[in-house]
């Protein structure tokens, strides 16, 4: 009997679990994010300068497309980010809906404008590349259309979030839309395999070889890593501002303001 009562006492939490719980506390998250943001911006800056230099100056021109191949260093990383940010928004939306953690709601909603921006870059850069190579700015093939749908999904999430006054209710409604919209992600990815499209198939795959020369691949991968740091830096910055805004009457925000003055 004695051993039974001993196990009923609250067990000590694993350090990782404890850390995650701490991140859910607004003041702790605010401090923690604040420490990381300058480093994320710095790494993003260094990698972008390096990636753009290698891509726009050092990398060779393509044997068929000539100089216009250089748009790839913008288009492909932006396209990857448009999908990665959407999936991270959907996963965070799922966590927000089930566990109702306010920081996660804020992070999910702060992802939407960043993802929308990357989608716009993808569509614009792709369109500018399409004109000289394909001979047209736009076609309604499955890849281009599903990427455009992704932009509308982002805009829908942003719009829904802003149309409801109570921020937590708004976040929940928008998170549900984000989760439902995630069915578009496999469609975008496999569109070039499932249907005949004007858009070419994937040149780079995690498994198996890539059909892009390595001199062109490295700048592309550097840009892909750089954009991830941009997402991290921008997301944490936005989340911190949103947190201050929502908690402006709470004691911890007042304390920060007092320290600043």
């Amino acid at each position: 009997m004695n051993s039974n009562t001993a196990t009923k006492a609250k067990p000590r939490k694993h350090p990782v679990v404890l850390f995650i719980h701490k991140l859910g506390s607004p003041p702790w998250f605010y401090d923690f994010a604040g420490k990381f943001i300058p480093w994320l911006w710095l790494i993003f800056g260094v990698l972008t300068v390096l990636g753009l230099y290698l891509g726009l100056v050092k990398a060779p021109e393509d044997y068929l497309q000539g100089q216009s191949v250089r748009i790839i260093y913008l288009h492909v990383p932006a396209a990857w980010m448009s999908m990665m940010i959407y999936s991270s928004m959907a996963v965070m939306g799922f966590i927000a809906l089930v566990w109702r953690i306010r920081i996660v709601e804020i992070l999910a909603m702060a992802s939407a404008p960043i993802g929308a921006a990357f989608t716009i870059v993808t569509l614009t850069a792709g369109s500018l590349w399409g004109r000289p190579t394909w001979g047209t700015y736009w076609v309604w093939d499955a890849r281009l259309t599903s990427e455009l749908v992704l932009l509308f999904l982002y805009l829908g999430v942003i719009g829904l979030y802003n149309s409801i006054d109570e921020p937590r209710k708004a976040a929940r409604a928008a998170c549900l839309l984000a989760i439902v919209g995630a069915v578009n992600l496999p469609i975008i990815h496999y569109s070039v395999k499932w249907w005949n499209t004007l858009h070419q198939g994937s040149s780079i795959s995690l498994m198996g070889g890539s059909s892009i020369d390595s001199s062109m691949l490295y700048p592309l991968l550097i840009m892909a890593v750089a954009t991830k740091f941009y997402y991290g830096a921008n997301l944490l910055t936005r989340a911190r501002i949103k947190l201050l805004e929502q908690d402006k009457r709470k004691a911890w925000v007042r304390e920060i303001l007092k320290e600043k003055n």
Binding site: W134, V180, W194
Partner: protein, 150 residues
């Protein structure tokens, strides 16, 4: 996990499953319409009546590009291996138009089985390489797209 959270989890998962099933069914039924172009082999299996607009896709058969002297008229054969279709086009071709290159032409078949194109787009493949690598590949016997008459 508390019962409330479990209930929410099940609700969200059910919504997600429902939407996935619905969109899968929708996309299966749309599959035919989602094909951006027909290949010459598709045409052989399922002929399209003359005069009806569609897109024809395939490779430009090397050595078949003929340009009219002093005009914009071009004709070439589009092939996908087993089948081929003769295409006639009047207009400016995209920069990437090459022999051996993928193209998508919009237009319709005329009475004699020739495809009258009103628009020709070049389809780029997923290969990217510098000119030196392309030259080296050609020397080892790979066939790459080439500019006609150059």
């Amino acid at each position: 996990m508390t019962p409330t959270r479990k209930r929410r989890l099940v609700a969200v998962l059910l919504i997600l499953a429902g939407v996935s099933v619905a969109s899968t069914i929708a996309f299966y039924s749309l599959q035919e319409n989602m094909l951006y172009f027909q290949s010459p082999s598709d045409l052989a299996v399922q002929p399209i009546p003359p005069g009806r607009q569609f897109r024809l896709g395939g490779l430009v058969k090397p050595g078949t590009v003929e340009r009219q002297e002093g005009g914009l008229a071009t004709q070439f054969i589009v092939t996908d291996g087993p089948k081929e279709v003769l295409v006639e086009y009047v207009g400016i071709l995209p920069d990437l138009f090459r022999e051996g290159q993928g193209v998508i032409a919009r237009g319709s078949l005329n009475g004699t089985g020739t495809f009258d194109a009103s628009e020709v787009l070049a389809k780029h493949d997923e290969n990217y390489m510098p000119p030196e690598v392309a030259d080296a590949l050609e020397e080892t016997g790979h066939v790459l797209p080439k500019k006609p008459n150059s």
